[in-house]
Point group: C3
Chain length 387, copies 3
């Protein structure tokens, strides 16, 4: 299976790097043989339309150390250098810490594994699994909809070289429900935190057609507010050819309580328009669905075009709700050009255009204006493998 | 003496590691010979009783680099990846920084040393000196009673292989008295910060009985509020046998002003019960005493049982105070089972039970209810020596 | 040119280190040949005069990794371990991050370079370019007047071994104008943030007289508030002899709006004295000028004396303003003694005296008292090159 501990992460030029690596072999001492230190860096000049200010922005700055000191035992720590280090109240881990995990393989033929600590949700989003240095703009699924770095205990079983299955017991969120509700500024509304605010991902990773087609599919069941159950399904699919890569991620989620608070504000705004005395609360019974397609093509050695499309929507249809189907839609398009001057190094000069629209439908549209963004960016990214 | 710069820190399986290390020698280049990078990781699923929420928690995540580049000159930096990085106002260092110190040995036969920077109080608590990865639950002495990571200048003299003496000039706290008082929400009450809010530890480290019995004893005198002097004594004692280790730490402290604010709230609550107009202030003349006993036994190679008992109490007896002896008691019991599958690696799968009680006596008990906690935890710890 | 990626940074004992390095060659594996990890540490006991509290303070604690993995491509990351990690709103980078930059050389003979990311302003202040471990006290130019670590895209052209020219496109500040104004607590006063709150440094670095005399000169034009243009000139000059080093930095700046907010409060205080109903705002048309002179002399091998003088002033003369010339002056004097016991290591035991005065003139002096500080400090610094 794609190792969660490989360094550096997947990118679009893997094949070229491998071809060249035989010319670049450097003597590495035994002691560092399987220890890696990485930095993920991306900076760009962003020029948005309208009254928004232009600026040069630090898009990525992460520090990573990972390794395998003895066979069958791995560790991984990854850390944002540009986000708050305050620990959250449910998991005692800060948002700046992506990974702080230990992975141990055991059993006959080492087919079993257990991974404990702060880690990535094994949800099956190729957009999220990609080296973040390379993802210029994310879907709302990655940015908000799903809690992607969390405390978990993940059990794995590798059936053969091509197929693995996982069960991942996880905290539903990093903060407690009461804290999340207080931060949103909502009253209790009959809700309280679950005694066990946890869930389980059941995940399949597969490689097919001579490892040219990869699947990463999951089902999750979790609770956060007491007595309210969430379900979600994610189907990540990826094609890797010589000069071309693409992924298509398909996602569904059903939240009894929309504690994500992404679709909720538009409903609250509508309810307050109808009834000015209405007190904002978390919306109930929100259904999310989303699709993300990205394609990368190396049209000349070292030159890439990349294109990405995002389509996501929220619905509330239970009990014939007037809110209705697809009352909120998020649409994103990225089109970019990349130049990688040094084949062995994951450094690229890039430029891209990004269009984003958030669109409202039905009664919710009466109270919420659609939002548009046009953005042009040029910059440099470098996924540094220091050793 | 036990070097404050050894990597990784003491643990319960040292003897087994040494036996095995001859089979695990890895080629290390000269340049890294005496440079070490460590990560301290512990995560566990914690299941408390009562209405408290269960969750998987990040118990430890620290990053450490230390080394000796040339003989007689050491540096050590250790950093929490999961606590706030805001500097405190008296020492300009954040709580997340355990160590940022330079140690220099000098004089004839290099028997003298000076250690300057953020460092551990040389107080003589084996509980605190233990690798924090291994200490599942701490006494209040470590968590609150004593300021254990602080700015200091420590002079040492090594009499012989078995005995060393130290004088450590240190800031009493990380924040100024005025800030501590403001954070507690108390009025000045006639107190102000000392011009020199510092103290001195006088410490003896000894090894006896063929280095099977270790002492780590200290006396400290300090001031924090102007004209108010604090005294404390700590006697740390440790036994190291082949399959068995134990320590017994005994501690006393006399605080003219209880700026620790651990015993104070229960007295304030009592005073407000007697007189609702009473304004909360720091209690005066608090006497603390504590004892911590921990035992570790490797009953089968790779399998350990561990047990820990904590007993601490506060008294206020000056001028026949009605508050009286042992008006607040903290009792803790930890019983655990550990499995270390790979002898050379400080990685353990563990489960433990923790009982904690805070108990009030005499008049203070009229206003404060006793508190109880039962906790069961399972998880993984790994004190990683990356190189 | 002096490489921005050299490790460790310039210091006053370079010549001695080079002499000795042939005796200290350590085997370094290929993989780490051009990768460096550094720690900058300085701690001291500071004893100020008057009612101020003495304390041992952590003056410096920075972590740095930099390197050149393949020719012509460098990266550099440097990080404060003792300042807040919250990202600023304009650049998405925290104040704790000094560097997170990628440098790429290109073109015929690799004379061209582009450096993108969080980086140092190429302003030409030798005081600022010096390893911060060695600068005990900074001028206001470094501390406040100039935004020295910022997001930028820097193009360079190396004419020959001795002369280079640079154009650095940069964000004017790390936060947006609206945030800066809100943090200062001032009303809009007819100002708003520029659509493009950026500027450009044009810089010359030169080496003359057998590389014994170094120049680092720049001109900058930038905007921050909409329609308000800032200009500045900096002339950094440095002499490097065998046992003696000195730099003289000369600086001018003209700010249409004093968003630095260093000179502004004294004017506001005066305006409020004249008219108690006056609402504090950013002062307009402030002219700054400054000079910093530092000299270091190794009078006995391993023993250094250091002296530094700072003189800075602010004026407001446009439209015959009553505020006038040099209405605020900052004067600083540092005199110190350093002992470096190990020639190959940038570790020094030091003591210094610091005098600082902020002085007001003309009408502003009627509302503002002069301020004085005397400070004595002893401590240890170590610019650690771990590998």
């Amino acid at each position: 299976q794609p190792s969660p501990l490989s360094a550096p992460a997947n990118d679009t030029s893997t094949s070229r790097v491998k071809d060249e690596s035989s010319f670049l072999i450097k003597r590495k001492p035994d002691i560092l043989e399987n220890i890696h230190m990485n930095f993920l860096l991306r900076s760009s000049l962003e020029i948005p339309d309208g009254g928004r200010q232009s600026s040069i922005r630090l898009n990525e700055a992460r520090f990573e150390v990972l390794g395998t000191i003895v066979p069958d035992l791995d560790f991984r720590v990854r850390y944002h250098l540009n986000s708050s280090q305050m620990p959250k109240d449910l998991d005692n881990a800060p948002g700046s810490l992506d990974y702080a995990a230990v992975n141990y393989r055991f059993g006959r033929k080492k087919k079993w594994s257990v991974n404990v600590g702060k880690q990535a949700a094994f949800v099956g989003s190729w957009e999220f699994e990609n080296d973040p240095t390379y993802e210029y703009q994310y879907s709302e699924f990655v940015n908000f909809q799903t809690n992607l770095f969390m405390m978990a205990i993940r059990f794995g079983y590798q059936v053969n070289q091509n197929h693995s299955f996982f069960l991942q017991l996880h905290n539903t969120d990093n903060s407690s429900f009461n804290t999340t509700q207080a931060n949103a500024g909502y009253p209790a509304d009959g809700l309280k935190g679950a005694k066990n605010p946890m869930g389980v991902y059941a995940t399949w990773q597969g490689k097919m057609f001579n490892q040219k087609f990869l699947t990463f599919w999951s089902y999750d069941i979790s609770q956060y507010a007491s007595g309210k159950t969430n379900h979600s399904v994610a189907l990540g699919n990826k094609v890797i050819l010589n000069k071309f890569q693409a992924y298509l991620d398909l996602q569904w989620a059903a939240l009894a309580v929309d504690y994500i608070n992404l679709a909720t504000p538009s409903i609250n705004k509508y309810q307050q328009m109808v009834n000015p005395a209405f007190t904002p609360v978390f919306a109930r019974d929100i259904h999310y669905k989303g699709a993300v397609l990205r394609m990368d093509y190396e049209f000349i050695p070292g030159w890439f075009i990349t294109a990405k499309g995002i389509l996501e929507s929220d619905s509330q249809t239970k009990n014939n709700s007037t809110i209705g189907k697809n009352f909120r839609e998020n649409i994103g398009i990225v089109a970019g050009l990349e130049y990688q001057p040094i084949p062995s190094q994951h450094m690229k000069l890039f430029g891209y255009y990004y269009y984003n629209q958030v669109k409202f439908r039905h009664v919710v549209a009466d109270a919420n204006d659609n939002q548009h963004l046009n953005l042009f960016a040029v910059g440099v990214l470098y996924s540094v493998n220091a050793f």
